[in-house]
Structures are given as C-alpha cells and as structure tokens.
C-alpha cells in the first residue's frame, strides 16, 4: 500500500523506533521566540545542559514588541525580550531582535529566509507553527517542556498522528481567498474535527493557491484542532524558494528538487479520514462567535442558538452571542466594527497587504485601521511597492513588524466592548484585549469593512 505525504516525511525523521514507545523524531528546524522559551533555557541551565544544535535554531522577538518605533514601555515585556537576548547570547543562537532587518513574526521569517523547506520537521513553542506545512513538511506547535527537549536533544518523542485529507475541488470564485477557504473548513469540521490528525490539503483549488495562500490555510489547521497541516510541494513551492538566502543552490538545489518531487501522497495511499469541500460554492466568510468554528458566509445572519440541535453547541452559541453582544437574525453585514486589523502570521505577508491596499486605493477608512507587516522584510517590500502610501492616504496606521493585535500581549489591543474585523486567527474571548470582540475575516473583507465601518465584502463597495 502507498504512503501519504505525512507518513513519508515522518518516516524520514525517525531516529529510533521501539515497540510500545513513541517514535523519537529528529527536528530539522527549531524556531523560538521570547514567550515560550525562558523557562526552557532555565531548565537547561539547571541541568547543566547545552543546546545540541544551535545552528538548527533561530530566534526572533515578536509577541511582545510594540509596532511603533521606540523602546518597550512595559517593564515585564521588556524583561522577557531581554531574557531572550541573554539566552541566545549564552547558548549561541542566532537572534533577530527588534530593529533588525530580519525581525518579524516567527512564522513569517522562516519561509522568507528559505529556512522552511519541503520534507522538513519544524517545531516552535507556538501553535501556529502549522503554517510551515505549506511547503510540504511536518510542522507543529509544542509547549515549553518540549522546547527544552528539542534544545537539549534536537529530537522529540511523539506518536505519529493519524492522517486526514481535505479534498478541495473546483476553483475559488473571484474575491474568495485562502482565508475564506480555511474558515469554511473549520466551520465544517469544527474546532475538534482535526484532533489527533495531520491534515493534508489537496485538490485543484489548493494547487492553485500561492505560497502565501497555502500558508494562510495551513496556519489555521490548529484552529480545526489538527496537530499539523500540510500541502505537497510543487512548482509553486520551488519557485517561491529558489534564490532565498537559506535555500540550496547549484547542484544542491537540483538534488533537493529531485527529492522534493517525491514528496506527495501515493495514489493508492489511504487516509484515516477524508473530508470533501467544493471551493466553487464558497463566498467571503466571517466568524460571529468566540471560537473559529463559529463562522458563516458574510451573506448570512447571526444564528439563533435554538437552531443548533447539539446541546453543547447550543449553549456555546448562547454564551458566544452574549459575549459578542449580537442578536440572532441580525444580518452579518449590519455588524458595525470600531477597529480593523490587517496582519499576523495568518495574513501578514506581502500578498495580504497588496490585496488590502488594492481595495483601499482611492478610498478612506471609516474606522481605526492597523496595518502591521508580518516582518521587517515584508515591510520593506511593501514600502518599495508604495503600499504604505496607499494605507496612509486611506487613513490607516502603517506599523512596524510584530504579532500586534493578534493576541493582546503588546500595546496593540482592543478596549473592553470594542469590536474588530481582524485578519488574525482567533476570536476567543479577550484574545485581542480583555472584553474585546473579534470577527475573523480575510484581508480583502478587512479592507472593505474599514471603508464602510460594517462587515463588508469588496464586491459590496
């Protein structure tokens, strides 16, 4: 019987296998940031251990950093960032600090440097590590104990997750994006639908996505509960990688591409679970509730909790509507927002900024709007293309790189009761600031919403 892509990549990385034990898996790349690493480094010091492979490890500052120029005002955030600097210096790890040309959100910088390549195993103390699976590797989030384990051993003990195929047939209609696709998938399978699985996204619509779009899809695999998400590498992947600083070159490039071309699911391989979705039926998608599975097409209305047959879903919907201050039956297009956020590891890449700018060109925003490039390199490229001028002319704020309003850990937050349309990945209670209310949207819907002040699709303008 043939093997799935996930099985091929997993098998390639098994250091040791023994009956009744998890596999010991080699980790090709370990990304670290200031939030989930300090206690791991403390653990190493306590045990007198070194970092086994500092040259397979890279660090950046992203979660705590302010996105306006200047020092970190919050002393606790400042200490955390300084702790990362000290740890990286002590253990010999390359760090891209604030102000560095390579700094940015951890899941944006790996791909932009060409460090994220097909067939690799990649981990980070951050659940959105699934992003990197867009290149055809196995990439997943880990906790601080596992961060320490990878630092010390460059391996992780783990059971191979089950495999799940999401077959996306047809073509995404104009104006419908990778973000709408993944939001629709999560609404379909639920926040627990992918638990214990690695999802492979397949089919015509997936093949037609750019690398940026594929990263957006894989990024939110965790929101469907999956351990990881991945997409088989193809010419789009190779074209994106070629010439990047850490991508192979010359003869090594040819060798690598020859191997990467073998990284696809065999025709006779069997997945543990298969989900089918028709891309051609999709329209712009938004969330109405407080978990990413509570989403609907923008043309729909706020659902009535009574319409849910499952009692758990019904009570979750009741709670969500109370927190979100929404009334059943309200058209989603009538929901007014105070703030629009474009950025994050989900939608902070150059293509996302281009598509938002395209909508804002010659228009003015009616709300507060933050546009936060995912990395300093994205920022530089956007400025070379003049996108920053478009945003500023529209009245949006053009910021420095960082996680920003995705997670309420830095100065960019919602105030209690404020409502956002956000291109980030989580609409949890208080995620963007205590008492804040979040609607997850694509960059295009975010930009159109900023223009009208209500949830809006570009086609509505």
């Amino acid at each position: 019987m043939g093997r799935t892509l996930a099985e091929k990549v997993w098998e390639q990385h098994v250091v040791r296998r023994a009956d009744g034990e998890p596999d010991l898996l080699y980790i090709d790349l370990h990304l670290i940031h200031e939030v989930t690493s300090p206690q791991a480094f403390d653990g190493l010091r306590l045990a007198g251990r070194k970092v086994r492979r500092p040259e397979l490890t890279i660090a950046t500052e992203d979660h705590n950093v302010p996105t306006v120029l200047g020092p970190i005002a919050d002393p606790v955030s400042k200490t955390q960032v300084e702790t990362l600097r000290k740890n990286c210096a002590e253990f010999g790890i390359r760090l891209h600090p604030m102000g560095d040309a390579g700094q940015g959100v951890v899941h944006i910088i790996g791909p932009q440097f060409g460090l994220t390549q097909p067939g690799m195993t990649i981990v980070c103390g951050d659940s959105h590590t699934s992003t990197h699976g867009a290149f055809g590797g196995i990439a997943f989030g880990i906790g601080t104990s596992e961060v320490e384990h990878v630092l010390a051993t460059q391996t992780l003990p783990a059971y191979r997750p089950k495999t799940m195929a999401i077959e996306v047939s047809g073509e995404l209609p104009t104006g419908v994006t990778a973000k709408d696709l993944i939001l629709a998938i999560i609404a379909k399978i639920g926040t627990g639908g992918g638990q214990g699985h690695i999802i492979e996204y397949r089919g015509e619509a997936v093949r037609k996505l750019s690398m940026e779009g594929r990263m957006t899809v894989c990024n939110m695999s965790i929101e469907a509960g999956a351990r990881a998400g991945m997409i088989a590498p193809d010419e789009t992947t190779f074209a994106y990688l070629k010439g990047r600083p850490h991508a192979p070159s010359g003869e090594a490039w040819d060798q690598a591409v020859a191997y990467w071309k073998t990284l696809k699911t065999d025709d006779d391989a069997v997945f543990d679970k298969v989900v089918e979705i028709d891309a051609s039926t999709l329209t712009p998608f938004v969330t109405w509730g407080t978990n990413p599975g509570q989403g609907l097409p923008l043309g729909e209305r706020v659902p009535d909790p009574e319409s849910f047959t499952d009692p758990v879903e019904r009570s979750a919907a009741e709670r969500a509507l109370e927190y979100m201050a929404l009334t059943p039956g309200t058209p989603l297009r009538d929901i007014e927002v105070d703030t629009v956020f474009v950025g994050s590891c989900t939608n902070g890449r150059i293509e996302d900024l281009r598509s938002a700018a395209e909508i804002l060109r010659g228009r003015k925003v009616a709300t507060r709007m933050l546009v936060v490039p995912g990395s300093m390199m994205v920022k530089k490229q956007a400025e070379e293309e003049g996108l920053h001028e478009v945003f500023k002319a529209a009245g949006a704020e053009w910021r420095e790189a960082g996680c920003s309003m995705c997670l309420g850990m830095n100065p960019d937050t919602l105030k209690p009761g404020e409502r956002s349309a956000s291109t980030s990945n989580r609409n949890f209670e208080g995620r963007q600031g205590k008492g804040g209310r979040t609607h997850l949207v694509s960059p295009q819907v975010a930009a159109a919403t900023a223009v009208t002040g209500r949830l809006t699709a570009p086609a509505d303008l």
Partner: protein, 195 residues
C-alpha cells in the same frame, strides 16, 4: 515531574465547551520568565464574575476539573498547565482535549483523562449534587470512580509509565544519544542551517 499513581479529591464542574488556553491563562500572564505564580492568572477573566464556578466556596480545595468537550484548544502555552497545577488541580476530565494541551499536561504530570461525553456530564451532575463528593482517578487501574460508579479510560502504556514514575523525557531521550548522532550523520546535505 511529580509522579502520579492515584488521586482522590473533590471535583469542580466546568460546564463550558471549547475552553481555550487563552481563557485558562490570558496572554498578559505569559510575560513572566519564571515558572511560578500562574495560579493567580488561572481563568483570570472568568473569575471576575462572582457566579463563576471556581468562585463558589462549595468547591474550594477541589483538585479535579471536570470540563465540557474540547478543553485546552488554541495556543500552545504550557503556562495553562502550570496555572492549573499551581492552583491545585491534579486532573482534568473532559470528552476531548486540544492535542498540544494534552501533550503539555503529560510532560508536567497533570493528568488529562478522556471520558465519554455522557459520563462527563454524569460526573458533573454528581458533583453539583454533592460538592463534597470524593472522586478517585486511578492511573494504575485506568479508572475514574465516584459514589459506586466506575468508568475506565484509555491512556497509552508509555505515557502511563512515565507519569507513574514521574520521569523526565530529556533524560530518557539522552539514553539514545548515539542513535541521534547516527541519524545526524545521515541527514540530507542540502538541509539548511540558521548561521
């Protein structure tokens, strides 16, 4: 980590689903660089509501959290596990868990127990009827027991053994340092380094 064999204590019912790790420990609490003091941040936003179950004195001292499905979804923050443990929880029982949370728990010795949804609800109802109810979570026998009820749960042998022995994963892995070196010597030559 602290070894876990069997634990008996009071339980607290958390009748919510999709309890994400942002609720368990909000992001502002993640700025600490130490491993202690997270109990104050446990369910920080929800605890502001006087009617939140953890504020009910009847459940004071409970060490077993009995939650709705999909507990610990979202962010990978291990701080969620630290906060639960430092508050005094030894066990979380739910019908489904977020994968990363469950993994983090077993690294730290907080036992995640998966029971069928209807049995979770029965236990919640029993605890609501009698908050003093003593609930036993027996990892040796893989059972949860209360008031004459016995429900079995599944956990793989290896994780169970590690938890019962309180073993540190890094020490176990370093026994295989030679295998790691052998693997490293055969890695594909084009794989990137960060330097």
């Amino acid at each position: 980590m602290e070894a876990f064999t069997t634990h008996t204590g009071k339980a607290v019912p958390l009748r919510r689903s999709n309890v994400d790790t942002d609720q368990i420990i909000p992001a502002v609490w993640l700025k600490q660089v130490s491993r202690t003091g997270f109990e104050k941040g446990l369910f920080a936003a929800w605890r502001e509501d006087p009617s939140f179950v953890l504020n009910d004195p009847a459940y004071a001292g409970a060490s077993i959290l009995v939650s709705g499905p999909d507990f610990g979804t979202g962010s990978s923050r291990e701080h969620a596990v630290w906060a639960l443990q430092q508050y005094g929880f030894r066990v979380v029982i739910a019908a489904r868990f977020g994968d990363i949370f469950r993994n983090n728990s077993t690294k730290m010795g907080l036992l995640p127990v998966v029971l069928p949804g209807d049995r979770v609800e029965e236990l919640q109802a029993a605890v609501e009827a009698d908050p003093e109810l003593q609930v036993t979570v027996d990892l040796v026998e893989r059972q949860v027991r209360w008031a004459g009820e016995t429900v079995s749960f599944e956990i793989d042998d290896y994780t169970r053994w590690r938890l019962m022995e309180g073993l540190d994963d890094i020490g176990l892995t370093l026994r295989h340092a030679d295998a790691i070196t052998t693997y490293e010597n055969g890695r594909q030559p084009w794989l990137p380094t960060t330097v």
